[in-house]
Symmetry: C2
Subunit: 227 residues, 2 copies
Amino acid sequence: MNVNIGALRYDGDKESGPLSVTMPRRTKAEAEATREALLDAAEEVFFDKGVARASLEQIARHAGMTRGAIYWHFKDKADLFHALLNRVRLPFEELLDEVRETSGIDSPLETLRLACHNSLVRIERPRDRRTHAILLHRCEFFSDINPLEMQNRLVRECQKSMYKQLRHAHDLGLLAPGLAPETATRLLQSMLSGLVHDWLRDPASFPLRDEGGALIDTLFGLISWNA
Amino acid sequence: MNVNIGALRYDGDKESGPLSVTMPRRTKAEAEATREALLDAAEEVFFDKGVARASLEQIARHAGMTRGAIYWHFKDKADLFHALLNRVRLPFEELLDEVRETSGIDSPLETLRLACHNSLVRIERPRDRRTHAILLHRCEFFSDINPLEMQNRLVRECQKSMYKQLRHAHDLGLLAPGLAPETATRLLQSMLSGLVHDWLRDPASFPLRDEGGALIDTLFGLISWNA
DNA sequence: ATATTTACATTCATTTATGTATGGATGTAG
DNA sequence: CTACATCCATACATAAATGAATGTAAATAT
């Protein structure tokens, strides 16, 4: 079996148009590679021009293909968009699990703090950064896609995980006196949400890990009980 | 002079299409009224369908006009969009001035806190709410419009005003010990930004004034110096 | 070895939005 | 009372994107 994942076959035509006049069918591995290439191209073009203004023709050309390839691998633009988001999906709960497993910490507040730090690290990775920027700042609704509902689902899911930790911390008396876990949750979630929004709008304006990390630590210092 | 602002002339045709086959020119006041009607229609259609998917035809029909009216009053879609934003523009500094004038408070921290409350009240007004929702969640770049740059300008301007207040508060020893005014600024701005984003995405999910107000008070309680 | 399916490229028909050009009736200035 | 400018409606030309249909050579199954 000809396993050749990750490299498209070329036939001398170095231009970024269709590979040749009668380019034939590829092996399964090559087909999977072109699917990924199409997703990469969609990521770039969506990011640069916005989802609405990005045509499937531009995306296909950017990947060295034609629209035929897109319509083979994806139903339409919306389907392509969904596939794009699925590549970077990561529930906040899994970030918490990761922290719980790697570090031997049992304090719910410390676990949460580290998970927040890790979420910033995640979102700095180019693919995650661009994809989140697309979802937050570069797409409106179209066909059956409602990015606002998607964002809502993500936020609520994240809030739920945060609340579980802060509720636990509150029960252990770790929170500042008079601070309800519900309030602490909104405080943390809104701050992180705003921070990420601001940074994604202009990543060059400030270093996310540094300033964001300091902000997280400051907030956790403020909401923690201290003698 | 026939002053008749706020009411379009009808000629028996109650349908929402063009008023009549050969509807003539209006008075200056009527023309200004249709301009406002077009902006109202744009606000609604942009909000419902997103800026990219909203056609000028739909907007015109929604106002009981045709595209001819739009192209008379505005250069193109981008110009219409700009005019829409100008209706609700309000710098944060003016909110601060308003507080300084109406209340006799001289504490920079209290002034800032009240201005934050007032900003929530402002954004709950239907026109402000819809327009901000359009800018934040319902438009991508198109032609010469870059909503991300617009958002950036607004945020930086707001940050600047907040920082002036917090810097002043810090110099007066009003901030919690060890809390830099730069950090406090980011904390407050990110939280407010995230809060507004979340609320605009789904205004029914929680009451902004109540929960947001409580959040503001909590945060100011945390960042203030207290014996 | 043949038949079939796969993985695209190419072509075509349709839709949709835009910008402009033109027309026409009335307000308004003189 | 005329003349012109204003405020729109209508008509037209153009462009761009979509989705479906079709073609096709190689991979794969039989």
